[in-house]
Symmetry: C2
Subunit: 415 residues, 2 copies
């Protein structure tokens, strides 16, 4: 895969993938969305709905936390039934996590209300929540949302807004790709990095496509994409009880169903990954108190997985994060973070670049321009490249700097 100018990406098989700058979850055909204020938050929108005109193949990945919240259990159960979802209902403000039996009953009830209103089976409805944990859902307000949220062909901004918590901006992405000679769209909306008392950052991602693909194949494509995107971002190393990325494919574009044998499988897979990567970077950049996006590219690792491990270790290091915030080209901290990853590293075969400057090579520091480095670090996006000589493994991770505001937001939220 090679990226050209103007956001055009050439997949190996010469398929062209195009980024649609103002695209969203409603760019793919056959979807509607909406978002309203239903009284869960003080004034902001807090209740969202995504609808597909017909039942869509569904695939999702969920938090690895032992404390998985009830909405995730209900969504898993829905998808397990037939691999189809037609409607996704989301509330913000209250996460419905650590809420026991009552919380589970409430998540089922939320699903039931949407199913009833749109006259579809319960198992065609997915449920997601984000916000405070340990509180029960205010069910009158949830009922009000279920009855009044109006999906439309233009409601994507309302949807994007209603799923946010303390995020400072909406997050959306869209790419188009040719499948069987026809244009297929993949759009996404996400939230993340917002911290709500007494909660941790919850990450939610919703991806729509009009491609034709079975649930099991969609799951395969999604899992591979997630490993290289959402799983490669870190704001502060935490995992939420409510994290979930859900993908729907409604088959509005009529082509030979996508499988691994399909000639355009790789192009589709790449486009899906780009949507995930785009959303993931937006989440990382909007990390609490963050002023910069940090990208760590690792090449020459023994395996792709080891490259990803090292990248995440570096981008997650508090010392690297504070150094970047302080515009400090502190290669020593990068060495430290690489050094204590589980991956195989030979210090004497390791090069480190901060942007274009080589700062460390073959186990010892190199002379470099501190002035240039400070200038490079004083951008909204900072790139660190680590080149090992262990093998062909490559991977990228994204994160943000650690600032006074991170401490402020998280230490003084309740006071």
């Amino acid at each position: 895969m090679k990226r050209g100018r103007d956001g055009l990406i050439q997949a190996k098989n010469t398929q062209t993938i195009e980024k649609i700058a103002d695209g969203s979850i409603l760019t793919p055909k056959g979807y509607k969305a909406g978002g309203i204020h239903s009284g869960l938050r003080y004034r902001k929108k807090d209740f969202a709905l995504l609808m597909s005109e017909r039942p869509a193949s569904a695939a999702a990945v969920y938090t690895q936390s032992h404390f998985q919240a009830p909405p995730l259990k209900v969504t898993q159960e829905s998808i397990a039934e037939q691999g189809k979802i037609q409607s996704v209902v989301i509330n913000s403000a209250v996460a419905n996590a650590c809420t026991g039996e009552e919380g589970l009953a409430n998540a089922y009830e939320m699903r039931r209300m949407i199913a009833k209103r749109f006259d579809i089976p319960d198992e065609y409805v997915a449920v997601a929540s984000t916000g405070v944990i340990g509180q029960q859902l205010p069910m009158e307000k949830i009922a009000h949302g279920c009855e009044n949220v109006e999906p439309s062909g233009t409601g994507y901004k309302d949807f994007q807004q209603a799923i946010l918590t303390t995020d400072t901006c909406q997050k959306h992405a869209c790419y188009q790709v040719q499948v069987g000679g026809k244009t297929v769209s993949i759009g996404g909306a996400a939230k993340g990095s917002g911290m709500i008392h007494p909660n941790m950052a919850t990450m939610l991602g919703f991806i729509t496509t009009d491609a034709t693909i079975e649930s099991s194949d969609l799951k395969r494509a999604l899992s591979s994409s997630i490993d290289k995107s959402f799983n490669q971002i870190t704001v502060d190393g935490e995992t939420s009880t409510n994290d979930m990325v859900l993908t729907l494919a409604n088959g509005e574009i009529d082509h030979e169903p996508l499988t691994e044998e399909h000639a355009d499988w790789e192009a589709f897979q790449t486009a899906l990954q780009l949507v995930c990567e785009d959303l993931a970077k937006q989440i990382a950049k909007d990390g609490e108190g963050a002023t910069k996006l940090i990208e760590v590219v690792v090449t020459g690792a023994r395996t792709n997985e080891e490259a990803r491990i090292i990248g995440k270790k570096v981008v997650g290091s508090s010392l690297v994060k504070t150094a970047v915030y302080g515009l400090d080209a502190n290669w020593g901290r990068i060495v430290g973070a690489i050094g204590h990853s589980e991956a195989e590293v030979d210090p004497n075969q390791c090069d480190i670049y901060i942007e274009d400057q080589l700062v460390f090579s073959n186990g010892t520091p190199c002379p470099f321009s501190e002035e240039q480095a400070t200038e490079d670090l004083d951008n909204e996006e900072v790139k660190i490249t680590i080149r090992l000589r262990e093998g062909d493994g490559a991977g990228t991770a994204w994160g943000c700097d650690l600032t006074y505001d991170y401490v402020k937001i998280n230490a003084s939220y309740r006071t």
Copy 2:
């Protein structure tokens, strides 16, 4: 093991272990120590020496970083020779890490100079360095130190001072225990948590005892102690290139050599662990910018190891650390940290206490006094207890809060 009043600890076999409040590495018989200013730092002491009157059984544990610094290689080599060390030489200010072949030659030279001056074999000398990485040792200043540092029977404070970097206080501990009816002392000095541009926190620990024990048995006792002490503290999740804990046992007290079969093995092991734990807690408490020591006690895990993993995950969580700083009884963040540890946890079987208050039980939050919690968190030491119902595993971890000063120290060190 049960702790009584007045610092007296009853080991299972009724052996009594006593904490010596003003004890040090010179409380055990047959040791001398000293520390001087040798020009590596601007004014502060920067060069230290520990001597045993006779060759002592030696055991050490080293950083797991892939970038292990030259002094550690030289010390490993020394101990590997005969398992004996008589002299330990330490400089601060320059870590001699990431310094390649020249750095290794310099570490050998530092060893050779001490061996020559005191007329002992090279392999009886251990070497340690802490400070800036990526810089070569200034060898004239090192030579000056090797020639002029004067070990004495009262020089422990000079020693304790000279090994520090940005630590705000000296760290020492001493415990006495009966072995074969005789009083054996175990003393220690440590440094840690200081961050030096462009470095990461280096942790050094030096432990002396006058007990009689072979190197291999000492290693066994040390490794077990380290797992429950130095390895259980975290300031910011980083590992240094120079971390080392070194123990010397010179056999000045004449008793049946300690082995696992010795009746007093457990008492000795417990006392050694208490020295390590004491030093480790002092390091955690002196973490950069820290205002509090946080202790996380985990019981009821499947294994001791899993208990330690969970404890360290909680005490290392940036969200828990900022919450404690903000006096916020934020059980949700503790749940989050437990939830994403690798250990086995059943959320519905998990209790969480902040000091004496139960705040979370069986998967849901409990009513508790916020006022009392704020008061409890407003102490220099804060205890979080996590009770699982998976098995008999128990473990403790220590750390500190995450404050504005941490960001300040680490973001603006170079400006």
